[in-house]
Symmetry: C2
Subunit: 210 residues, 2 copies
């Protein structure tokens, strides 16, 4: 009945089986994340992911419905880290302008290593063939846009200023700019990522007072 009883032997609590499976899943996601990021989605085979994680392909399919779901778990893992980082950026010391500057720096660094954007873009193409993936990505993207819009709105209302664009629109512009710049940089490493901050400030320039 109880699924997490203590045992006389070393095994204890929460079900050895469930714990091992969770660990398997974690390792698969970690390895897949590394390989998807460095080699891309299409170029990463499930066989190699499983092998480098110390399992067989069967482990993948007993933890995920397939390659697509594994990649979505990877993206979730990445997004979770990004949320933490952005939260740190905005919860740090300094005025609101400082927060915006720090965000620009963070985004520039993220764009400077554009492999994540490349993965996201490539996986976006998969969504065209899979309505499930399409709706999942759409949902995530809307959440991201809404989160950015909320940050913008908070900053502007705290500052008592109004932008040229409503927060939702400004958020979409910033996200587009970051994605596009990352895409360009993934092809041409010579593109300067520093201009994200400049463009960001140009887009977020306050409207002249009525």
């Amino acid at each position: 009945m109880s699924i997490d009883q203590d045992r006389a032997d070393g095994s204890r609590g929460a079900g050895v089986r469930a714990e091992r499976q969770a660990e398997t899943r974690r390792r698969l996601v970690d390895v897949a994340r590394e390989m998807f990021i460095s080699d891309g989605y299409a170029a990463t085979s499930l066989d190699k992911v499983a092998e480098r994680a110390g399992f067989s392909k069967g482990a993948v399919y007993s933890n995920f419905s397939g390659k697509e779901e594994l990649c979505m778990a990877v993206l979730d893992s990445i997004h979770a880290e990004q949320v933490v980082q952005v939260a740190e950026v905005f919860s740090g010391p300094g005025g609101l302008d400082d927060k915006i500057d720090r965000f620009a720096v963070w985004a520039r660094e993220g764009i400077g290593q554009p492999l994540w954007v490349a993965l996201e873009s490539e996986f976006g193409a998969v969504a065209r063939q899979s309505p499930f993936v399409a709706s999942a990505l759409r949902r995530r993207q809307r959440e991201v846009r809404a989160a950015i819009a909320a940050l913008i709105e908070q900053v502007t209302t705290d500052q008592g200023i109004t932008l040229r664009f409503p927060p939702e629109q400004a958020a979409t512009m910033l996200l587009s700019l970051g994605i596009g710049l990352g895409a360009l940089r993934s092809i041409d490493h010579g593109v300067d990522p520093g201009m994200f901050g400049d463009a960001m400030r140009a887009l977020l320039r306050p409207a002249p007072p009525a």
Copy 2:
């Protein structure tokens, strides 16, 4: 000796063989373009492209080194059309502001049908595995950025104004914005493509006179 001699029978001039091959290549590119755009790069098989063009896969491999080169030919075909369209936009009547407005409209329409951007993004992922594709895409991208920068510079010098950013930087920003917005829209059709023009004008706003 002569490779384009007239014959007594129907065959004549310029080499029947070369002409038929050129036609084959054209049809393959046309069909591949349609399928790559509508289904994406990975989801389009060479067998189906060849079949829908009325050939076998062998025709593909005797005209292209492989799938990658076929896709680059498709992208070239698309870019050629885009160059013509942009040239029309900028050679049309009206002042320079009108030209910018028309460009914004054209870009918005292109972003409204983001399938080209999706193909370009997906193919960008392929470049990571293929140095040849990588350098080819990098070269094309630099040409595009330089062309946009040249247009911006021409417009601003004609107008006698200076922007907040040098033309090359402004071009990169605009291109990023367009690509990113197209990418967002390829996932979420609800994203408003009209904001490209607004963001474009915000980025190209003249610097205050010193």
